[in-house]
């Protein structure tokens, strides 16, 4: 990805993005689906869009997935 593509990608917004409140409200459900190898993004596309765009929520997703994966 070129540098300007990085800027362009940052500015791009996804209309499916549900925002932080809704994504975090069902984060546990989403993480369980991912951990079980199910199609979480297909079931909750707006949450997937949000986690891809929001750094802090993406970090929370990674942290919770690691927590449940590592016991």
């Amino acid at each position: 990805m070129s540098e300007l593509e990085r800027l362009e990608r940052f500015l791009r917004t996804d209309p499916r993005d549900v925002g932080c409140d809704e994504a975090m409200a069902i984060l546990h459900v989403y993480v369980d689906l991912v951990a079980a190898g199910e199609d979480a993004a297909g079931r909750y596309p707006g949450v997937a869009a949000h986690l891809a765009a929001c750094g802090p929520c993406g970090e929370d997703f990674t942290g919770l997935l690691l927590a449940v994966s590592n016991g």
Binding site: E3, L4, T13, H28, A67
Partner: protein, 216 residues
């Protein structure tokens, strides 16, 4: 609302056991609380260490954040036990509290030794922010100047302040939310709207192509 699609799942073996023990009285409940708290502390410590490179909080203060996060998460879990509806495993539901507490606390603790002041406005760092090679700064200068023009002229004062803090000065979103007394979602929404506004201006002025298939 995607959350409206939530349904209770068949509970795993561990979840009913947690609910039973935490709902019991006396020693059984106290033992379950001790076990859950010990798990929350372990998860919180692992999480603050995982995030240590992206926070100015270090050393014993980082461990304090983890212990406070575990304590507050434990309190919230016990208070909201009746809200658990079996949509996920109990332990995933419970760990979510401690992960979110870690995020919120690191955001608040950021301001004890912030690497950059609020409203610093380090626009000269914007090319580095997007990883633009110094050799290509001249090529990117036009587009970045247009970004700044839109920020200065078309964003509201609140949007400008939030965008500058998060994007230009790289203040963590949770830290800015704590400083401004806002929820994470409120800050994200401001950035979301600012990104859309800036992108539209860049497209209108020929710096970016019109996206196909709707607003992205």
């Amino acid at each position: 609302m995607e959350s409206a699609r939530l349904t209770a799942r068949e509970l795993d073996e561990e979840s009913p056991a947690w609910l039973c023990r935490l709902g019991a009285g006396g020693g059984e409940r106290r033992a379950a609380e001790r076990e859950l708290h010990a798990r929350l502390v372990r998860i919180a410590l692992a999480e603050v260490r995982r995030r240590s490179a992206s926070t100015p909080v270090t050393g014993p203060e980082l461990d304090d954040v983890a212990h406070q996060a575990a304590d507050d998460a434990m309190f919230a879990i016990l208070a909201k036990l009746g809200d658990f509806r079996g949509e996920s495993r109990f332990i995933t539901w419970a760990y979510r509290f401690v992960i979110l507490e870690v995020s919120a606390k690191l955001g608040r603790h950021y301001w004890r030794s912030p690497p950059v002041a609020l409203d610093a406005g380090q626009w000269e760092r914007l090319p580095d922010r997007f990883g633009i090679d110094p050799a290509r700064h001249a090529e990117a200068a036009g587009m970045l100047a247009e970004v700044r023009r839109v920020v200065d002229e078309e964003l509201t004062a609140h949007q400008r302040r939030v965008f500058t803090a998060i994007v230009v000065d790289e203040i963590p979103l949770d830290a800015l939310a704590a400083r401004l007394g806002l929820r994470r979602n409120a800050v994200y929404k401001v950035i979301f709207d600012a990104r859309r506004k800036i992108r539209r201006a860049l497209v209108a002025n020929g710096y970016l192509d019109q996206p196909g298939g709707g607003e992205r």
